[in-house]
């Protein structure tokens, strides 16, 4: 009896083990050359090719949906003030904006607009020239009337996106001729056009001839939708997992066609496979061509599929062009984080190499400024500021000398770590490594951090744990979301480790309500972006710096509107005020940005750690010529609206 039970148990365990081994061991069997070049496999090695109806799989481009399952699959009205999963093709294929940011090349592309906006002297009037010969997918021409109608409708309709913005600023909008729109403002606004700049959001024009027939533009479903982009809706899953788009016959009459030529795939499918492990399985079976995943998941894909490749073909794989700076936000509005010394001490208690090792196994670009360390921003800000950073001193003496916190050697230390993990460096050239891993970070100086805290009355207890100046134990309450793929989540756990090591008690709360908690100030530290993203493809720092202006300050407890750190400073106000008076193409914008960034370094309102190390995986089974690191002609993600500008460059493999 006993023996048999044990045998039965062992069998089940063995079965379980085999399954795991089968999946883990797939890397060996999977590496066998399953497809001979030139030979067309009747059936894919991983399984059946996805059924795509009358268009073959090799003419279909299948990508992931970042926003997940669509809860209202029949609704394509993305102008209602709500979330309609625009990244299921609506923003990538169906709609074109006036302008769009391209953060890889650092430019702002004129899409439906023919050229950049023209403001008058005091920014109370803006003229927009539209691209001619653009047509909606139902054959109606796109003209200035569309824009005028759109802006007026949005102004008049509560519940539409940009209703508040347009009402606040727009006095009058009219068409000067068929392709020229004029905006007159209630007050001067030098950045009004940025509402029309697409950077994962922005106002995209909708067709007047459809919406003027509609009674309630908020509950209107816009189905079937009319496109201004190169693809039109073909069909969608009633369960909300996939949406299929087909190329327009008249793709020439869209900005994509006019700018880059014919998009190659006949059809594009947006398919949400679910949890990261399922995306791995789907790509290993060549059912999805482009996904964004975590570093571990990427590792799994590269092991399982020989046709998959990352942004960079070899280690460190990650996307170093994402225009987002990540790190830790502190609630600088409450004790003790309202003290600059405390914020600096917490920063110096972090060893950047250990942090990046724990969070991404070294696959990230370090960044110490409130601006993402992408190649274009490195050029615009990190490089010009390096001299200043090297000489920057904290107001504390070590060995009789003012302490210089900047560590230009951090990059070298990171590469040492990478070598110790057994990875090969992507290059031996120091300059190139700096481009990939960043220019440097702050020194790991727990001794200086200790001094900074001690001079503010902090003490350690007998067991070495830190006490607040009032003698009570210091406990940091960190908040983050529940999604382990989130970059903020990774930073929170890595920084928790650093601070614990330093002797501070840290509790991490993972919650789906992280957004509310951070916006209401119910936290000490969080993984929410430490500084808002700048435009991405433009040196103007308006978007980042302005949110630090004291006019947006709300005390903790009240919902926040600016940065979650709630930090503000008169010096920063001055910089922002000056910036508001500059045209965004004014060369002085960079000087102004540098001033702002310097203040943010001195005050350390939040701790910038690294750029957003996106991990994308391209499957080269059916398509090649993806915008990887060796040929970065376009941003590499499937969820950014710029995807439509990637499609004309894809090459079919003929499989």
């Amino acid at each position: 009896m006993k023996l048999r039970t044990i045998i039965a148990l062992l069998c089940v365990i063995a079965l379980f083990g085999f399954t795991l081994a089968g999946c883990g061991g797939q890397q060996e069997t999977g590496k066998e050359p399953s497809q001979e070049p030139g030979e067309k496999p009747a059936e894919e090695p991983g399984g059946k090719p996805a059924e795509t109806g009358d268009v073959s799989r090799s003419e279909t481009f299948i990508v992931d949906v970042l926003g997940g399952r669509v809860t209202t699959p029949e609704n394509f009205n993305v102008w209602a003030q709500t979330w309609r999963t625009p990244d299921r093709g609506v923003q990538q294929l169906m709609l074109e904006p006036l302008w769009i940011v391209e953060y890889v090349t650092g430019e702002v592309i004129n899409a439906l607009a023919a050229e950049g906006p023209e403001y008058n002297e005091d920014f109370t009037k803006m003229v927009v020239k539209l691209r001619q010969g653009m047509y909606w997918s139902d054959g109606v021409e796109f003209t200035a009337d569309d824009i005028v109608f759109d802006v007026e409708l949005v102004k008049a309709t509560e519940g539409m996106s940009y209703h508040t913005e347009f009402n606040t600023y727009v006095d009058k909008v009219y068409a000067e001729d068929k392709y020229t729109v004029v905006f007159e403002f209630k007050e001067g606004n030098s950045r009004f056009h940025t509402f029309f700049v697409d950077r994962w959001g922005g106002f995209r024009p909708f067709p007047k001839h459809i919406f003027e027939e509609v009674d309630d533009p908020v509950s209107f479903e816009f189905n079937p939708p009319i496109s201004s982009g190169p693809y039109v809706l073909k069909d969608y899953d009633p369960g909300g997992y996939w949406t299929r788009w087909t190329k327009r016959e008249d793709w020439q009459k869209t900005p994509t066609g006019a700018l880059y030529g014919e998009p190659v795939p006949k059809e594009v499918v947006f398919y949400y496979y679910g949890n990261p492990e399922k995306k791995v399985l789907a790509q290993a079976q060549h059912e999805i061509d482009l996904i964004e995943v975590t570093s571990e998941t990427l590792k799994a894909i590269l092991e399982k599929s020989d046709t998959s490749r990352a942004y960079r073909k070899e280690y460190p794989y990650f996307v170093n062009v994402d225009p987002c700076i990540t790190g830790i936000s502190l609630n600088a509005d409450i004790e003790p984080y309202n003290n600059k010394d405390v914020r600096w001490a917490l920063t110096l208690a972090i060893d950047i190499v250990e942090e990046l090792g724990t969070s991404f196994d070294g696959m990230a670009t370090m960044g110490c400024l409130a601006v993402p360390p992408t190649p274009v921003y490195l050029e615009w800000y990190y490089k010009p500021m390096e001299e200043w950073l090297r000489s920057f001193e904290l107001d504390i003496e070590v060995d009789g000398q003012k302490f210089k916190p900047y560590d230009p050697e951090a990059t070298k230390r990171l590469t040492e770590y990478i070598k110790s993990r057994g990875y090969e460096l992507p290059s031996e050239d120091e300059e190139e490594l700096k481009q990939i891993f960043g220019y440097g970070w702050w020194k790991y100086a727990p001794d200086v951090a200790e001094k900074l805290l001690e001079r503010n009355g902090f003490k350690r207890d007998n067991s070495g744990k830190w006490l607040l100046p009032d003698g009570s134990p210091w406990k940091i309450h960190m908040v983050t979301g529940t999604n382990p793929s989130n970059i903020g989540y990774r930073h929170v756990f890595a920084v928790q480790q650093a601070w614990k090591k330093f002797g501070i008690e840290v509790e991490v709360e993972t919650t789906e309500n992280a957004a509310t908690l951070t916006q209401h100030g119910d936290f000490d530290a969080t993984g929410t972006w430490p500084a808002l993203e700048p435009w991405g493809g433009h040196p103007d720092m308006y978007r980042t710096l302005r949110s630090w202006h004291s006019k947006f300050y709300k005390p903790t407890g009240e919902p926040n509107v600016g940065h979650v750190s709630r930090w503000h400073h008169p010096d920063m106000d001055k910089v922002v005020d000056e910036l508001e008076g500059l045209d965004w193409d004014d060369p002085k914008v960079i000087e102004n940005g540098i001033e702002g960034l310097k203040i943010a370094v001195r005050e350390m309102p939040s701790i910038q750690i690294s750029g957003y190390p996106g991990m994308v995986s391209f499957d080269e089974q059916y398509w090649t010529n993806f915008p990887g690191a060796e040929n970065p002609y376009c941003q590499p993600y499937h969820h950014w609206p710029n995807l439509k500008y990637m499609l004309p460059f894809l090459k079919p493999t003929g499989n």
Partner: protein, 335 residues
């Protein structure tokens, strides 16, 4: 008449009381959490990079609060909830404003009903039959074998079990799709091709639920059964020379079914709550995933709409069990 007055009316009263309490709890609990639906919506829109003017956010927050019906005290919101529920209006979803809650539920509910009705019934039937047989012939060798199998099967954590099924049948032997409810391009209409496609997508989630669910029913049934077999009346019947099958059908099964029928009625009621984890692992469209989204977004109306269905379902299930008990167990009188 006295049956109605002495039994049915109080029971119905209890039914409505239970529903009232359930709805009240579901109204209050989400409002105790820190989540703010307006804030969550603003964050959803801005977190991926869309720009919202700080000046506008302030006003937007106010106008969204008004539109969402979140102005006024909690008590006045509670009163207006009942006013709406009585006329069958669940209001608009907050996270998909202004789409009505009923519409969102309508999109997801058919999937859930189809999947869960079949799996609940199948796992109940298979589990009970196997459990009954195993309990009745508890000394036989294969009964012990099944028992051991179920014993080890049941405690495998569902998520892991589902993932293994997926790996085995979606990847190692790729015979079933790994996600979604339909193939790309499928138009829902009545044809064998469509039905086959729907089934192919439903098999893995169904299998995971049937296998683990069945193991649970099996164990309870086996225990109850092996207990009843030792009851005096069964002993007497055996001693009296009645045939085994006759004993089984006339005496044993009827008695053993009692707790199982209660269980079934309640699990059928639970169907309306959806299978959150199943739907997430298999990316199967359904009400469970919708509920999870609703909770995270603080979509009070949608939470209320979905849980209302599940509360009604379970309460009705329990009511039916109470009314039908005497049919199964003649020893019970309505009291």
């Amino acid at each position: 008449m006295s049956f109605i007055k002495r039994y049915l009316l109080p029971r119905l009263l209890q039914y409505f009381l239970v529903i009232f309490v359930g709805i009240t709890v579901v109204f209050i609990v989400p409002r105790l959490t820190p989540v703010d639906p307006v804030q969550e919506m603003i964050n959803t829109i801005t977190q991926r990079g869309a720009y919202m003017d700080p000046e506008a956010i302030e006003q937007l927050r106010q106008s969204m609060k008004e539109m969402y019906g979140l102005e006024g005290t909690v008590f006045s919101q509670y009163i207006s909830l009942w006013r709406r529920l009585i006329i069958g209006d669940f209001g608009p979803s907050l996270s998909q404003f202004p789409t009505p809650v009923v519409k969102l539920i309508g999109i997801s509910l058919p999937w859930t009903l189809g999947l869960m009705l079949v799996t609940t019934l199948l796992s109940w039937i298979i589990g009970n039959i196997l459990g009954g047989i195993a309990g009745y012939f508890s000394s036989s060798r294969w009964s012990a074998a099944i028992e051991r199998f179920m014993m080890v099967l049941r405690p495998i954590p569902y998520y892991i079990f589902a993932l293994i099924l997926l790996l085995v049948f979606g990847y190692v032997i790729p015979i079933f799709p790994i996600a979604g409810g339909t193939s790309i391009g499928l138009k829902i209409q009545f044809s064998w091709k469509v039905i086959a496609d729907l089934l192919r997508h439903a098999i893995l989630p169904a299998l995971s639920m049937i296998l683990l669910g069945m193991a649970g029913w099996f164990q309870t049934m086996r225990l109850v059964m092996s207990n009843i077999v030792r009851e005096d009346y069964v002993m007497y019947a055996r001693a009296g020379g009645l045939r085994d099958t006759k004993i089984a059908f006339n005496y044993v099964i009827k008695n053993a079914m009692l707790p199982q029928v209660t269980g079934l009625a309640l699990s059928l009621g639970q169907i309306f709550g959806g299978a959150m984890v199943t739907e997430m692992v298999f990316s199967y469209p359904g009400i469970g995933g919708l509920l999870y989204t609703a909770i995270n977004a603080g979509d009070y109306n949608l939470i209320m709409g979905i849980t209302m269905f599940s509360i009604l379902g379970i309460a009705t299930g329990a009511l039916l069990v109470d009314l039908l008990y005497p049919l199964f167990d003649p020893r019970i009188r309505y009291r």
